[in-house]
Structure formats: structure tokens, C-alpha cells
Amino acid sequence: MSLAGQMIAFTPAQLDEVRRLQALYPDPRAALLPVLQLAQEAFDFISPDVEQYVAGLFDLSPAHVHEVVTFYSLFFTKPVGRHVVSVCRTLSCHLLGAPDVVAYLKERLGIEAGATTKDGKVTFFTVECLCACEMAPMMQVNDRYEGHLTREKIDRILERLE
């Protein structure tokens, strides 16, 4: 299987991790989510080829894997930028200015929510409550929560991204 000429396959070390995860649970199929998380780390997003490859590792149908992948918001079915910015838009953040944060990010990045900047640097999503409402308005930048957002703070955060 290939993606732009690249083979979709885990390294031997990654395959060991797949086997470890499958042996960990009372039913090996329960390792599907952690293995998909591993796959997303390895291949950046879950393409149909990746779904098929992972299905093979579990003896599951690719349709089942596809259903699982598309159910969860943290699995990307399309390429994303080097950085992922997810702005919370639920009630506590909305009350304290989430719409302004979203508008400012659209302006600064020049893209709509769900899109990636042309240079492939940033993908920006709007998401539901990240359960950090005490720091509203807030967003997640890769693995960090950033709160009490202002235009200046957003500028500083974006400037730090490589």
C-alpha cells in the first residue's frame, strides 16, 4: 500500500508496540484506538490506505476501522498543518469572547475554520468545550492549553510556532 509512493507500514519497533497493546486488553480489538493513535503519529493522518493497513493488523474489516476513525474528532482523515490550533467555542468561552478569538484567527491566518494555511504551517479548528473553562476564552495549540486569550496573546503564541 502506498501514499504518494510511500509505503504504509509500521517500523519493527512500532509493530512490537502494536502486539504489546493487543496483548494488554482482554480482547485484542480493544487496542484499535491506541493503535490508530500510533498510526496517526507515524503517518500524520489516517488515509484510506492507513485504515486498510490497520484493519489488516486486527483482522477487522476496513469498513469497521473507517467507521471508528470518522466517529472521533481527533483522528484526521486529511493532512493537517505542522501545528493544530483548536479554539473552544462552547458556552463559557463564548461568554468571554470566543467569537472574537475565532474572527481574529481567521484574519491572522487568512483561512476559515477547518482549513490549513498555504505554507502548511497551521490548521485551525473550532471545537467544543475542552474543559478548561476557568481560563476562557481558550484554545489548544498542539498539546498545550492556552487560556485568557487576547489578540496580543494570540500573536505571541502564533509567533512562537516554527
Binding site: 480482547d27 474543559c131 476557568e134 498545550r144
Partner: protein, 431 residues
């Protein structure tokens, strides 16, 4: 502030480490528990009047008591750390600032119910909490506090940390179990309840992080002592997450007998800029809204139920007089439409319709019959769905429209907001 139990280590540097946890009395509850029989622990939990703090407020000892006595199958303990209820963030603090309290609490629970495998389901976005909790689990294994023969007791417990992948519905216990089993997070029809047939078709207890973190001090200080902190039907303290229009948003631990007014005015510092209170959601977004003159209520499960709302996850969202209630409801309606798992027709369809009607009202094109239609749509299907998600959406739909009807009517008749005239809401109709 009254005595802190859950938050007592939060301000201590390195409170997440085993060293600090032990220096501050950690793992003494577990040592004491191993000197007791599982039945004696169940009895202490029963006397404590501990009620589940994940949302439903179900008595913990009663839930444990549902486990079948004669099943040859293994039993599992599942820790619900999928925190997702809008307005709630307490479990994040517990995972980051006192992860060993959760490990100790879940080990006590596992010993009491006879489980040797425990799953901790952490929401996927919680990366820092996951890292801190994982490091604590590693420390606990190294110190003989997890694994084989814990503290020389002969009791074994393995822990699997399972990360979610972004879906609110996986906080619902049967949706969580589906997700844990490697499927999409579709809730399952009950009965059978998880205690009878849960994860991997085995008897399973699902408990919330905060519920389990209460066990060490219930064992150390006694069930009666814990019960005495609360009401006749609910013992102890709990962590209230306060957000929205308050001076000091954050988590506050209070006895469940505290009132909503005390929490907002004394602890969270009231409204900024001297604004007046308009409305409060007391138990996460799925609780019915209260008006400013309905906040003299105690925040125990039964007190809030008697006030026509619910304690839920204790996520308190405060809205001052500048808030447009139809807009607030539209924000939540968008959340529910987005998060419905789509399995039940009433839930899937109604959450979509309600969002669209509210967007229409806010865009100035509302129709006079819209508020009644909203109420009608919301009521249909309530109580008929597979899980309580839809009822949790109906609570805000009905209570916001019923208690703030004039604001909806104003939008419809004037094409704009009465609270902030001329304001244009953006993002209508987008997901």
C-alpha cells in the same frame, strides 16, 4: 473555606509526586483498607453517603452492590476521566495535581469490589493530565503500590490507561465502554447495566475520578465522619467548577450543603464590573438554568433536584445581565447537535432542528410560533432514547425558553437583541 479533602494538596509544590503524596498522608487509606474486609469497606462507603460525582449522583455503595455475587467472570473497574461536560474541569485538576489520590482511591475500590484490572479512560485532549497521571502510575508500580501483591497484601491490580479520541458521548458510561472495546462510542441499551454486563461482557463498575478520590479519606477518617459533612442523603464535599462571568473562575471544594449564592458571591467573587447576575447553570450545560432569584439553594444532589435542576457534574456557568439567553442556548444547541452520536432518531433529528430554529431566531428571521415549536420538539422524544444525552439537551432547551421567553419573543418581533441592540451574532449555521 471549610476543610479541604480533595484539594488539600493542590497548592503544595510537586503535589503530583509520590514523595509529596506520601509525606502528606498518602496511601495510608490503602494500608488501612487492606486490613479490612471488602465487606467492611463497602459498609464504610455506604455509611459515608458518597454519591457519584460524574453526573448522575447515584449512591456509590448501591452501584457496587449491583455486581452479581456468583459470576465466574472477572470484574473490571473503569475510571471515567473523559471529562467533557461543558463548564466542568475538576477532574483535570485532580489528574494533574493529585494523581496518586486517584490511584489510591481506585485501588481501594478495586479491592472492595474484587477487581484485578482497572481501565482509566482519559479524554484525548487531556495530554498534560495523561502524562502526569501516567508518570504517577509508573511511580506506583515501581514502589509496589500497583501490580502484584500491593503493599504486601497479596492483592494484585493492573492498570491500563486508555486515551479517548474526541467524542463527548464517550463520557456516558456505556458509550465509554463501547469506545474502550475499540468501537465507535455508541451507548448501549440498559439493562443490562454495566455492573451486570459491562466491558468485554464482564461485570464492570464505572466511577468518576472525583468519586474515587474521596475513598482514601473515607477509609482513613470513617464513613460517618464523611457523611456528617453533608446532608442526610449525600455526604462530604465536592469540587465545583465555576466559569463564565465571575471575578475568580476556578475550582472550589465545598461541603455539598453550601449554597449556590455562597459559591458565586463569596468564593468566586461575584460578577465583574459590578454587573448584575442574570442566570446560572449549576451542574454542567445539561442542567436546567436558574434565574438570579433562584440561587438560594444548597448544591447537594437532592437540593438542586428539588429546585428543578440538577447537580450533575457541578459545573457552574454564571451569566451576567449582558448575556443574551437565546444566543447562549444556541451555543449549547450547536454543541448538542454536534455531539449527538446519531443512534436514536429523536436525538439526532431534534438536536439538529433546535439548532437551526435558534439560528433563525438570532439571525432576525424568527417566526412567532418558533418558541412553542422549540418546546414541542424538545419534549418529543424526551425519555425515549438509549442514553441520557438527549434528556441532558432537553433540560436547557425547555428551561431557557420557559424562563426567558420574553427574550426569544423580542428577537422574533424586533429582529434584534434586547440585551445588546444591534449586535450581530457570527457563525450561525456553521459547524
Amino acid at each position: 473555606m471549610a476543610e479541604l479533602l480533595l484539594m488539600r494538596r493542590f497548592e503544595i509544590p510537586d503535589s503530583h509526586t509520590l514523595r509529596v503524596y506520601r509525606e502528606t498522608g498518602g496511601y495510608q487509606g490503602l494500608a488501612k483498607a487492606f486490613g479490612m474486609t471488602p465487606v467492611a469497606i463497602l459498609d464504610a462507603v455506604k455509611r459515608s453517603n458518597l454519591r457519584g460525582l460524574g453526573g448522575a449522583g447515584f449512591p456509590t455503595a448501591v452501584k457496587w452492590g449491583f455486581l452479581p455475587k456468583d459470576s465466574p467472570k472477572p470484574r473490571y473497574l473503569v475510571v471515567n476521566a473523559d471529562e467533557g461536560e461543558p463548564g466542568t474541569f475538576k477532574d483535570r485538576y485532580l489528574l494533574e495535581r493529585d494523581p496518586h489520590a486517584l490511584i489510591e482511591g481506585m485501588t481501594i475500590a478495586a479491592y472492595a469490589i474484587g477487581s484485578h484490572l482497572s481501565f482509566v479512560y482519559i479524554r484525548g485532549e487531556y495530554i498534560k493530565p495523561f502524562r502526569i497521571f501516567s508518570a504517577a502510575v509508573h511511580e506506583a508500580y515501581e514502589a509496589g503500590l500497583l501490580g502484584k501483591g500491593i503493599l504486601g497484601s497479596g492483592f494484585d491490580l493492573e492498570v491500563i490507561i486508555h486515551r479517548g479520541a474526541g467524542a463527548y458521548i464517550c463520557g456516558e458510561e456505556t458509550g465509554l465502554i463501547s469506545s474502550l472495546e475499540g468501537k465507535k462510542g455508541w451507548p448501549k441499551l440498559k439493562p443490562p447495566f454495566p455492573a451486570v454486563r459491562g466491558a468485554f461482557d464482564c461485570p464492570t463498575i464505572v466511577n468518576n475520578v472525583e468519586t474515587l478520590c474521596h475513598l482514601p479519606h473515607i477509609i482513613t477518617l470513617g464513613g460517618q465522619w464523611f457523611a456528617a459533612l453533608g446532608t442526610k442523603t449525600q455526604g462530604g464535599t465536592r469540587m465545583y467548577s465555576v466559569s463564565g462571568h465571575v471575578v475568580r473562575p476556578g475550582v472550589y471544594e465545598l461541603p455539598v450543603t453550601a449554597t449556590l449564592r455562597e459559591l458565586i458571591e463569596n468564593h468566586a467573587g461575584g460578577m465583574p464590573r459590578g454587573r448584575r447576575l442574570k442566570a446560572v447553570v449549576p451542574g454542567g450545560s445539561s442542567a436546567q438554568i436558574l434565574t438570579a432569584d433562584e440561587i438560594d439553594v444548597t448544591m447537594d444532589v437532592d437540593g438542586l433536584r428539588d429546585a428543578g435542576t440538577m447537580a450533575g457534574s457541578a459545573g457552574v456557568i454564571v451569566m451576567d445581565e449582558s448575556t443574551c439567553i437565546p444566543e447562549a442556548l444556541w451555543v449549547l444547541a450547536r454543541f448538542y447537535a454536534h455531539e449527538s452520536c446519531g443512534q436514536c432518531t429523536p436525538c439526532r433529528e431534534s438536536t439538529g432542528w433546535v439548532e437551526k430554529i435558534l439560528a433563525r431566531i438570532l439571525s432576525g428571521k424568527g417566526r412567532p410560533e418558533d418558541p412553542d415549536n422549540l418546546l414541542d420538539i424538545a419534549r418529543r422524544g424526551a425519555g425515549t432514547t438509549i442514553c441520557a444525552f438527549y434528556d441532558g439537551a432537553v433540560n436547557p432547551y425547555l428551561s431557557y425558553v420557559e424562563k426567558f421567553r420574553s427574550e426569544f419573543d423580542y428577537h422574533i418581533h424586533h429582529g434584534e437583541c434586547d440585551v445588546q441592540p444591534g449586535r450581530v451574532v457570527t457563525g450561525l449555521g456553521t459547524r
